[in-house]
């Protein structure tokens, strides 16, 4: 193929397999090898909600320009699954490449693409592995074939495998052997007719590859988390499991004692209950869950809010309502979380937009919880939480832990024990608290979810109730001033503003780039927290039309901003899609272009 026709570092590879067949290792090895070549990549796993036997797709986007959002198009396809063959074949872009295991006997119905049958079974048989592992190791063959055909550095694949198997020679060897067998076969038998190639770059320096759940867990660990209770649920489980993995390594003290405790609860009612108990008693305390578990946490969330107990609740969102699709992403829990709990509640919500921010907010959420004495919800999602992303290396926190207003024995001594648990001394709505184990005879108080006065005494007095609620509103105002400010790019000085949040960032970033190419410049605000800080109102006020882009059905951020800025409500244009997939730049672009044309 002529060099001028080559398409370099700018395409997507999708690998179709059966879940449970072990392709995850192969796919992440590919991803990481590309990353190690210095090429910007992103990987997305589209998997079914079962354990074995159903179709699953893994898409690697290779993008010299650093775009990492999902694309609707796939140029290179590897099909290992007879069940999805027909559909897969149909999806390849004209001019694309279609690799498939040659034991699949379906007819090839397209002539506009390059088709490469791969003798997977034959090659596997030559390998020295037990029959039970053949299916598994088979995946390494397509890695080898792709490597050869696209130009992926075998050395980088080797070091990706080394990474994956943490240096254990045996599995590294048996895997790399299969990769080599694949590459060798390709070099001898496959004549390339597609234009897709990769070439080394230097665009991944300073970056790492990680998923948001691991990052959130690490963030919490560096943020001094002391207690976590959880109940398994997709796609949140790996957050707690990362705590279990890293805490023993990172948080043993000199005597080998644990400076933390993690408890697997019997359900989410208890997971949050334990978290509240721990938070109340002075531990930096968190739980992690997804939609159904979040719903079950409602009653205790309301109590934590009202009794002012610091806790952190990670909600790694999947698509709902109800059980929905446990393995598909969404941002659909926003309004629910905002109003979560009967009675008047106003929760503080953090909205991480990158893996790195998951790390940062993992720690920040604990700070804010103790500072504000309130539950902090961190809304991540499946896409951010479970997929591998390029991201800035994690930065060691530069501030000490914020433990909030706590009075210990000596503090009480100084003020002669004259304190009230719910008294607003500083005018910021945040009272002082004491912690269990404080031996000062005036330290104790009786926490409750019932109406209480400034001294935590039960009260049914209407004025007392109102005063307490008003103080909680002052506290919410304080929250406005200390939650993370949005990321803003108003450099275009456009009439058009785009507001988005969370994992939409890459798609919106890319959409803005394409829109600009087509003559539509836009300014940008990525929200990182609720309540809204001043910057949001200013951004809205300084733009004529504001598109609010989100991954849910009802435009939930649009709803909340409308409540926040009723005077600006006419400006808002809701752009939302919710089908289990993350947004693509082209879809966003089309939408905005279409609405601008009107």
């Amino acid at each position: 193929m002529a060099a001028q026709n080559k398409i370099i570092n700018n395409f997507s590879i999708t690998i179709a397999t059966v879940n449970g067949s072990g392709s995850q290792t192969a796919n992440t090895t590919l991803l990481r090898a590309l990353f190690k070549m210095g090429i910007p990549v992103s990987g997305k796993n589209l998997f079914p909600s079962n354990i074995q036997g159903l179709p699953t797709w893994y898409t690697i986007r290779v993008s010299k320009d650093g775009f990492t959002a999902r694309r609707d198009e796939q140029e290179v396809f590897v099909c290992m699954n007879p069940a999805s063959f027909e559909k897969d074949l149909a999806e390849v872009l004209p001019g694309g490449a279609f690799f498939y295991a040659d034991h699949i006997k379906n007819p090839i119905t397209r002539t506009d693409i390059s088709v490469y049958p791969m003798p997977i079974r034959k090659l596997v048989k030559t390998a020295d592995v037990s029959p039970g592992l053949r299916d598994y190791i088979a995946n390494m063959i397509y890695v080898g074939i792709l490597a050869h055909t696209l130009g992926i550095d075998l050395e980088k694949i080797h070091s990706a495998l080394d990474f994956h198997f943490k240096g254990k020679p045996k599995p590294i060897e048996s895997n790399i052997n299969m990769v080599k067998a694949g590459a060798e076969w390709a070099s001898k038998n496959l004549s390339k007719s597609d234009p897709y190639w990769v070439e080394p770059m230097d665009k991944t320096k300073g970056l790492i590859m990680a998923d948001g759940n691991t990052a959130g867990a690490l963030g919490a660990i560096y943020g001094g988390v002391q207690f976590a209770a959880w109940y398994p649920i997709t796609p949140a489980s790996s957050l707690a499991e990362s705590l279990n993995e890293y805490l023993p390594k990172l948080r043993k003290n000199a005597e080998g004692k644990h400076t933390y405790a993690v408890v697997q609860a019997e359900d989410e009612l208890s997971a949050i209950g334990m978290t509240v108990g721990a938070g109340w008693s002075g531990l930096r305390s968190m739980t992690s869950t997804s939609g159904p578990g979040l719903s079950l946490m409602t009653e205790y969330a309301g109590m934590a809010y009202f009794a002012e107990v610091p806790i952190v609740v990670w909600d790694v969102q999947r698509i709902g309502p109800s059980t929905g699709l446990p393995t598909r992403t969404s941002q659909g829990d926003l309004t629910f979380t905002n109003f979560m709990g009967h009675g008047d509640t106003q929760h503080v919500i953090l909205l991480p937009g990158s893996v790195n921010e998951c790390f940062e907010f993992g720690s920040l959420a604990l700070d804010l919880a103790e500072h504000l004495q309130t539950p902090i919800f961190v809304l991540s999602d499946l896409d951010l939480g479970m997929n591998q992303w390029m991201t800035d290396a994690f930065r060691y926190p530069d501030k000490p832990l914020d433990r909030g207003k706590v009075l210990w024995e000596e503090d009480l001594e100084k003020i002669k024990g004259d304190w009230g648990r719910y008294k607003d001394i500083d005018g910021d709505g945040i009272p002082y608290r004491t912690l269990v184990g404080n031996r000062h005879p005036k330290s104790g108080y009786f926490a409750r979810g019932t109406g209480h006065d400034e001294y935590a005494r039960y009260s049914e007095n209407p004025q007392v109730w109102e005063a307490n609620m008003n103080r909680l509103r002052i506290k919410y105002k304080t929250a406005r001033t200390i939650v993370p400010k949005p990321i803003i790019d108003s450099s275009e000085k456009s009439d058009i503003g785009i507001i988005t949040f969370g994992s939409n960032e890459p798609a919106v970033y890319e959409a803005r780039t394409i829109l600009k190419l087509e003559g539509i410049t836009t300014d940008y605000l990525r929200l990182r927290a609720i309540p809204f800080t001043n910057e949001v109102a200013e951004f809205v006020k300084s733009h004529k039309r504001v598109y609010i882009v989100e991954t849910n059905h009802d435009g939930q951020l649009n709803q909340l901003i409308t409540i926040e800025l009723p005077g600006q409500a006419k400006k808002f244009k809701s752009i939302c899609l919710d089908n289990g997939l993350s947004l693509s730049a082209s879809w966003i672009k089309e939408k905005i272009q279409g609405m601008e044309a009107k």
Binding site: G22, Q24, P48, N50, I51, G132, Y136, P232, E245, Q264
Partner: protein
């Protein structure tokens, strides 16, 4: 051309009429084998599929009602909440039989309370627990029935005594309690048949190994070797296809048999004696205690009691199914409202 011989049961249906969609569970999963026995039991009993209600919670086990009795009504409910849902549904038409399939996590972890209270009420239903000691669908965490000391990769060692579903059932006054092993299809089938004929709640605790996640770290089986070659990541992405474990046919009442699971670990099953009297609640409890001490899993019909009225019995319902009553039955006469109004002057 030969006319194919199709077997039909006493009501003229073929076994196919009792089947469901193809299973999406792992090959070798005990749950599949239980589904098959449900199909066979219903076929052999000659039940009308439309007269069976299927229920489940959430989990691999709770998916399985999709894989049998396709023609029956069913409800795949919420994690841990099958019991109340079924309790509400059985009132609609008491001529139907209710059959629920749940997991050990679904029942004994998150669903403990609803399970116990359903038993107290003697809700008329068959309640099968497909018990594997782990959360299969969320990839292998310990459930509340995990045996004490079980070590699983990524999970560590379970420090807690397992919840004994049968003992819980008996002290909650369940009226039919049985235990079996998915690999003993004959016994499973017979117990399901008996349960379907029981009037009241029938609990079947069926040990149903999870081939994928309930496998121990230190076992020597090649499967574990495979795991060794996998990355110690949260995502376990390789699930080898294994065969279901089926006991030899000579597992006789009164005897003990050891079963080697896919991961090389052992469980010890003891089939109840032929002359065991399952109508004595206290004896049943003693027997369970004894086998706990001996580390046996006793299988068979452990307890049965036939005289307790069921939940719906207690409600004095009409013969016509409640859900077929019409306006006439459901709306009191106008005069009665006049009386009420005048009682409130």
């Amino acid at each position: 051309m030969a006319i194919p011989v199709t077997n039909t049961n006493q009501i003229g249906l073929q076994k196919n009429d009792y089947k469901g969609l193809p299973s999406t569970l792992c090959q070798g999963c005990g749950h599949n084998s239980i589904s098959n026995q449900i199909i066979t039991a219903c076929y052999e009993l000659g039940l009308v599929p439309e007269e069976i209600l299927k229920f489940s919670g959430i989990g691999c086990s709770s998916k399985s009602p999709a894989y049998f009795l396709e023609r029956s009504f069913g409800f795949n409910s919420l994690h841990g909440r099958m019991a109340p849902l079924a309790t509400g549904a059985v009132f609609a038409d008491t001529s139907l039989k209710a059959l629920g399939v749940s997991g050990d996590g679904d029942t004994a972890s998150i669903g403990m309370s609803g399970f116990k209270h359903m038993l107290r009420r003697n809700t008329p239903m068959v309640y099968i627990v497909e018990n594997n000691g782990v959360y299969g669908l969320t990839k292998g965490q310990f459930s509340a029935t995990a045996e004490v000391g079980l070590s699983l990769k990524h999970q560590g060692t379970n420090p807690y005594m397992p919840v004994d579903i049968c003992m819980e059932a008996i002290i909650s006054n369940a009226t039919f309690v049985g235990r079996s092993f998915a690999g003993d299809p004959k016994q499973v089938k017979e117990l399901i048949k008996a349960a379907l004929n029981h009037r009241g709640v029938a609990v079947l605790d069926i040990i149903s190994p999870c081939v994928t996640f309930n496998n121990q770290v230190n076992a020597f089986h090649s499967y574990t070797w495979g795991k060794d070659h996998e990355a110690p990541l949260h995502e376990i992405s390789f699930v080898p296809k294994l065969d279901e474990i089926i006991l030899a046919d000579d597992f006789m009442p009164g005897t003990v048999t050891e079963v080697c699971l896919h991961d090389g670990s052992m469980i010890v099953l003891k089939k109840l004696e032929k002359d065991y009297d399952p109508t004595d609640r206290w004896q049943a409890l003693h027997m369970l205690e004894e086998s706990q001490r001996n580390n046996w899993l006793v299988t068979g019909l452990i307890y049965i009691e036939c005289d307790t009225p069921t939940l719906t019995d207690r409600h004095n319902l009409p013969d016509t199914p409640l859900n077929r009553l019409t306006d006439k039955d459901l709306r009191p006469a106008p005069e009665t409202l006049d009386q009420i109004n005048s009682s409130m002057l």
